[in-house]
Symmetry: C2
Subunit: 407 residues, 2 copies
């Protein structure tokens, strides 16, 4: 039997580690011959663009490099699998690819959109009487998948955000004049990543002095009041804001690009600049906004060891679950305890996750809607532990280089 | 005898290491009693706001933490010392501070503006018949100081830029549709830092496919042509652009904030967004711009070991030079060889550096004005070598925390 793997959605630091997990588990499994990588997510299954992974990942060193390489080695897609009723021929083409290459297991590493693909494809195969199994492996820096305690990729993003916000705090507090620094953090409609900047308190930082999340209510007037109040106490005020906050009385178009992807997601950007202008106009002090941008999802040089190890483990478990006969499932983490930190890996119907979002809990948002409570710290802290000893060459991290035909 | 140190200008990852260098050298010097830190650069000397550094840097561990803490522990300023003729009372106040605290040596860590202060203050003291010595220690991520081979702080900024651009390359190349990613890099009017992204070639990267510098000529039409030509060869085109490029036929105000600091510098920002809009309008493909922003100057978690060690060494040498009776000088690096890399530390009249900028050499710019030649790689590469073993707590880097009264 052969197996196939694909990666989908936005890049993270941990997707390749999950790929390595599946690959390593496959090497240990006698019944598996070829391990195929599908180019650009499910698109490669439709167009029969597969690559034999054993021919490009040859050594343990290759696997170690892949573990420390961000983004998706196999490429990605934002392609939404249509309903079977509307475009059955797409399903037939995928089945052809699976059949021609004797693929018995298809593993899909992705977010809630990819789990939609897992649901649809596994149901189609089941209805056909096929015993080909489809299992989803979660990933996203947004941490917005239901059921799972957290998502692979999130811990590394938190570590990058915390370390970088801490450095921005140092940077912003050097001059004698008062200033406001606004840090815009990713997360689409959920505030998990912006909220995680609260963990700096565990290391004695007072900033970010204000944290704004999509799950809380937000008004420009209250924001300006909040900033003024913090300026009375701190010379350099640092604000963390999630890209997805909705400003009361403001059309999103005023600060968002407004473009919509095929899943109906808005490409969010610009709330930092919007708040910067607001402070400049209403308070008139020195103000700067910093967008952490794609670095939040690809800064593998500062990935969290726990995150990378867990991403590999959940990939291994996914293959084992498929070989045990499961299909249409997503693997997930169940947290057993915060301290000492322990998780188990379980599985759930992918339908419980597909197209759903898990919001940041209201119980961890301060009553003033402008801060995260200390209770959240013990949730976040275990996820950023551990460092990966990054292989360097010429003073720079080494990345696994894809074969030329894939670039 | 006592000594005083101050830090000035924009933050870097290495300014505190130079402070540690001076401090450690002072501890070894029997004739030195107190080591004062002047709060917010020369401003602390004018207003007599000094802090006894031995009371806050108590252990070797404190010094190690300070070495890995970005920005300026003593605060900073952009204050320009007026000419003696116009405001002699300022000089009298500085002399008072020096005299009251029995300060025999004043060390100023800063860029070309700070060297202007070194020139003016040392000349004033000499004219007064005082034997108080003033020595400048260079720093800037812009690497734009004349005489010195490079500036402390630059190597760490290069390491951050290279590692981050490499991660952005991985991030940008996952989808099957063609795209252009524009990375905006600091440097004011000099292209050193943007140019340094060429070192990724030493690790096998082809990107950045285009590099634009203030020292080269730039036109929007040629830029669009360049991008089209690269898109014919690469699916994901990555462009590095220096914030200070001048676009022919375009008023700087069209893409720069235009605000001017007291030294007459423009606060540059926005050329990335400007080029992003240009690509969107003229080519219409997927395009994104990423501003590396203040992270370029404060990402100590990825500082270059060579840079931090050199910054400490040049601080030590500065104090020794002052104790040898020198004044009005700036310490600098003279490169003896690229491979094996070796530098010596020398001194020059601060007047040779004050208010002057060193541009990126034209000989290292490709004839097409859109790339850096391989010859530059051997200049840059030694500067990013080595890693600092960063002390971590709770999964995050530990920063030296300033005493409460300084925050």
């Amino acid at each position: 039997m052969n197996i196939a793997i694909a990666q989908s959605g936005g890049p993270t630091c941990a997707i390749n580690a999950s790929l390595v997990g599946v690959f390593r588990q496959a090497l240990l499994t006698e019944e598996i011959d070829a391990v195929f990588g599908s180019i650009n997510g499910i698109e490669g299954m439709i167009s029969d663009e597969l690559i034999n992974l054993k021919s490009i990942i040859r050594t343990n060193e290759d696997m170690e490099l892949l573990r420390q390489t961000p983004s998706t080695m196999l490429g990605s897609c934002r392609y939404k699998l249509p309903a079977y009723d509307t475009e059955p021929e797409i399903y037939v083409r995928i089945l052809n690819t699976l059949t021609i290459h004797r693929i018995g297991v298809f593993l899909y590493i992705g977010g809630n959109d990819s789990m939609d693909t897992v649901v649809k494809l596994s149901k189609f195969l089941q209805d056909k009487g096929s015993d080909i199994r489809v299992i989803g492996v979660p990933k996203t820096i947004d941490n917005d998948l239901p059921i799972t305690d957290h998502t692979p990729g999130f811990g590394s993003a938190v570590k990058y955000v915390a370390a970088t916000v801490q450095e921005i705090i140092r940077d912003s507090s050097v001059y004698s004049i008062p200033s406001v620094t606004i840090v815009e953090i990713m997360g689409r409609h959920s505030g998990w990543l912006a909220a995680s900047s609260c963990i700096l308190r565990a290391n004695g930082e007072e900033a970010p002095h204000l944290i704004y999340l999509p799950e809380a209510s937000f008004s420009a007037d209250r924001f300006i009041e909040d900033v003024r109040r913090q300026m009375a106490k701190h010379k350099a005020v640092v604000v963390a804001v999630s890209e997805g906050i909705a400003v009361e009385g403001t059309e999103p178009e005023e600060f968002q690009s407004g473009a919509t992807d095929v899943f109906g997601h808005k490409y969010l950007s610009g709330v930092g600049k919007f708040l910067e202008r607001l402070v400049a106009e209403r308070i008139g002090c020195k103000v700067r906004s910093v967008e952490l941008n794609v670095m939040q999802r690809c800064s593998s040089h500062l990935c969290a060891g726990t995150d990378i190890d867990e991403a590999e483990r959940i990939g291994r478990h996914a293959l084992r679950a498929a070989l045990d006969g499961n299909s249409g499932k997503m693997m997930y983490f169940r947290r057993v305890s915060d301290m000492p930190y322990a998780v188990t890996i379980e599985m759930t119907d992918a339908a419980n996750v597909a197209n759903k979002e898990k919001k940041f809990p209201l119980k961890w948002i301060a009553p003033e809607q402008n801060q995260v409570t200390d209770a959240a710290i013990s949730y976040f802290l275990p996820l950023v532990q551990g460092e990966v000893d990054i292989r360097m060459k010429n003073g720079m991290p080494v990345h696994f280089q894809r074969p030329l035909q894939m670039r």
